[in-house]
């Protein structure tokens, strides 16, 4: 499945995401034709169970798809839609039809069958008709909400991708079901972090390819700049961190079975977020002034790297949560925690 997914998506994204097409999406209208093409590929439903009309794929199957979405700067909430439909499926609900996003942060409550509260920084919240969220209440619920019923505060990240805050007041969900027993209420934050880690990994692979190619072409002092050791070493550092981001994401996706493995997902987001800053810095240094222009496509990736590393929990935010759990485990619990892939209080914090 993995190989078929990867090659299908690579062809699809290569067709859809020319630099001009990606640029046109910045602060532009929702690219309906682009979304339709992606929707027809079926990938938004990949993680929904077959019984509910999805493809029943696993997280391990789709890590490449999400890496490629990152690599091609796909200006659509495809990773968000996959996550949304995965959670709906886990709660026994049918996948959303059409474009759907997720609310990873904010506070929503479900009472008497209606939802109130705010969903912060919803990706493409100004364009998608539906958003999936976890609402607190007597018992936490997975809710599918109509964005049209919300008041909106529009915003955008550094890559000019829409991040809208949605204010709901007594809005009836389109669908709802209890959050599966024992699942953490922050499952969308965690899933979003894992997904962003893979997008960052993909974007770093793209940036690495750009930097190595450019270092081979650009001639100064009579030779390609890539023959200067200072440049070689900078690009090597970029490659190391890109490799770390890829490995951490692959491990998190592979470990995620029905549930997302918290330690792996958090580790992926922390390492990828760190790698994002380092990688963007190196790529710009190597490209010189040309990479700082609107004309050059490098910024399509680097501005996303700077955005994605902060979304669904920054490296700092997740590191603090992880660090508190590690300190609670203490010196004796540390190594067993690493080898078992879990720290007890890291699980409890959000259960």
């Amino acid at each position: 499945m993995r190989q078929m997914f990867d090659s299908t998506v690579e062809r699809l994204f290569a067709d859809l995401t020319s630099p001009a097409a990606v640029l046109a999406c910045e602060d532009g209208p929702w690219p309906q034709a682009m979304w339709t093409a992606v929707e027809e590929s079926g990938f938004p439903l990949a993680l929904a169970p077959e019984a509910l009309g999805g493809a029943g794929a696993s997280w391990a199957d789709v890590c490449g798809v999400i890496r490629l979405a990152g690599r091609f700067n796909l200006p659509l909430p495809l990773p968000e839609a996959m996550l949304a439909n995965w959670l709906l499926g886990a709660a026994g609900l049918a996948p959303a039809s059409g474009a759907v996003s997720v609310a990873g942060a904010g506070a929503l409550r479900l009472r008497d069958g209606v939802v109130s509260g705010e969903a912060l920084d919803v990706p493409w919240g100004d364009a998608v008709p539906l958003v999936v969220a976890v609402a607190g209440g007597a018992e936490p619920a997975v809710v599918l909400l109509p964005t049209g019923a919300a008041r909106r505060r529009d915003g955008a990240n550094v890559a000019a991708e829409s991040r809208a805050t949605l204010l709901f007041e007594d809005v009836a969900p389109v669908a709802q079901a209890p959050l599966p027993a024992g699942w953490p209420v922050d499952v969308l934050l965690l899933g979003g972090a894992m997904v962003r880690a893979a997008q960052i990994a993909g974007a770093l692979e793209g940036v690495l390819a750009l930097a190595t190619a450019y270092a081979g072409e650009r001639v100064q002092f009579g030779k390609p700049i890539g023959s200067f050791q200072a440049i070689q070493h900078q690009v090597a550092v970029l490659a190391e961190h890109a490799a770390a981001a890829v490995m951490a994401s692959e491990a998190a996706f592979a470990a995620a079975d029905t549930r997302i493995v918290r330690l792996q997902a958090i580790a992926a987001k922390i390492c990828a977020s760190e790698a994002a800053g380092i990688g963007a810095g190196v790529a710009h240094a190597v490209h010189g002034a040309i990479g700082f222009t609107h004309e050059h496509s490098l910024h399509l990736s680097t501005r996303r790297l700077w955005s994605w590393r902060s979304e669904f929990g920054s490296a700092s935010a997740w590191s603090q949560r992880l660090g508190r759990a590690v300190c609670a485990a203490g010196p004796e619990g540390f190594w067993p925690g690493v080898t078992d892939g879990r720290f007890d209080t890291l699980q409890e914090q959000s259960a």
Binding site: A60, E205, L208, A209, T212, A215, G216, G226, S227, Q229, I231, Q232, H233, V235, A236, V237, A239, E240, H241, A242, A243, A244, V246, M247, A248, E250, A251, F253, A254, A255, L263, Q264, I266, A267, A268, I270, C271, E274, A315, S316, W318, S319, Q320, R321, L322, G323, R324, A325, V326, C327, A328, G330, P331, F334, W335, V338, T339, G341
Partner: protein, 381 residues
């Protein structure tokens, strides 16, 4: 692209199954060993401990049974190694034999060499050192001058090795020597198993900056080796050494060197860290989790018979940066001065690893050399 070789390679259940036994053994065997000695781990030399490991079948584990190994998978060995290091066990006595010399002899050695050396390595009775570096050849290893010349059915060795860890307490050295006097650079080099008790060999310990002596100068003055001392093919030393380095550069020893300090730092910080402490401890933990996965991916490649030299360099470079960062953060996160005498246990562990840390990115190939290898793998050279 080589980055795609970093595929998820979890430890298989049958390998994971040994962990509890190893951990139990170490808890018992190291019960009285204080953190300050655990911090030495892969510098810690304890021949008795090595023999006990040998009895358990935990040295040369991946070697064939007929040579005393367990024919265990590379992952089983991985579990044993990382448990040893995480517990701060003194592994240095058998370390090079287990990691490099044993696999090297299995791969390139003659039948006589295999029959003689491998069982003794597995029993934890034969210790090896690695004779690559010379006074004028560190990073530029291909420039070595120490030579072995044919004389009848003997090889006569002259020259000098340096920085040879454990030469003063090892039985054998695997030495890289120039066998063709007219050769240049990496041609005409060959590997030999040198019996360190032979006449003409002088070993002089060198004190490191902590005052301890782990590495040595080794002088060869007309040392006569039997013809059977040659490992592999005459003139193929460079290819053999390069293959060996992938084993040397990717294991958990490349990121667990200061793990005792991380553990003692956790003890010193306590269960209720401030925001800065929590952040940095969390970040280090995330990196450790990822480095393990990267190292396991390289292990899987090696087990599949590939030569992941590029990937191994990536792991070592990121890994040594990680283990070097731990003393820096320990200093930054707590107002505890390192102490070589007096002070608390944490202060002494900090003092030791702070002073050791510079060597992490030197031994086994420097940071700059590794970055060069990584760049070359990207097509930049």
């Amino acid at each position: 692209m080589s980055i795609d070789q970093f595929t998820y390679s979890p430890i298989p259940p049958e390998a994971e199954a040994i962990r509890a036994e190893v951990r139990g053994f170490l808890a018992d065997a190291l019960a009285d060993v204080p953190p300050t000695r655990r911090a030495e781990s892969w510098m810690g030399f304890d021949a008795r401990f090595s023999r006990r490991l040998g009895e358990r079948g935990w040295i040369g584990m991946a070697l064939p049974k007929r040579y005393g190994g367990a024919e265990a998978s590379a992952f089983s060995r991985y579990v044993v190694i990382e448990e040893l290091l995480a517990a701060g066990a003194p592994v240095s006595a058998h370390w090079f034999a287990d990691r490099q010399s044993g696999p090297q002899i299995l791969h390139y050695g003659s039948d006589a060499q295999k029959d003689f050396h491998l069982p003794a390595i597995c029993r934890g009775e034969q210790f090896f050192c690695i004779g690559m570096s010379e006074p004028n050849s560190g990073s530029d290893l291909a420039s070595i001058k120490s030579s072995a010349r044919r004389a009848g059915d003997k090889w006569i060795v002259n020259g000098q090795k340096v920085w040879t860890t454990n030469a003063h307490r090892s039985h054998y050295m695997i030495a890289l020597l120039r066998t063709d006097p007219d050769s240049r650079r990496n041609e005409g080099l060959s590997q030999f198993i040198v019996d360190l008790s032979l006449p003409g060999i002088t070993i002089r310990p060198i004190k490191d900056l902590t005052g301890a002596s782990h590495f040595n100068e080794v002088f060869f003055d007309d040392v006569a080796l039997d013809a059977g001392a040659l490992v592999g093919t005459e003139g193929q030393g460079w290819a053999q050494v390069t293959a060996e380095l992938a084993f040397e550069r990717s294991g958990p020893e490349r990121f667990l060197s200061s793990i005792t300090l991380l553990q003692s730092l956790l003890g010193a910080i306590g269960a209720d860290p401030d925001a800065l402490q929590a952040r940095d401890i969390g970040r280090l933990t995330a990196r450790l989790v990822t480095l393990r996965q990267m190292s396991l991916a390289v292990t899987a490649q090696l087990a599949a018979g590939r030569n992941p030299a590029w990937e191994a360099s990536v792991v070592k470079e990121l890994g040594t940066s990680f283990e070097q960062e731990i003393p820096e953060l320990a200093e930054a996160l707590l107002d505890v001065a390192p102490a070589t005498r007096g002070g608390g246990e944490h202060a002494r562990v900090l003092a030791y690893l702070m002073q050791e840390a510079p060597s992490f990115s030197l031994r086994g190939g420097t940071r700059e050399i590794l970055r060069g290898i990584i760049a070359r793998g990207l097509g930049m050279r």
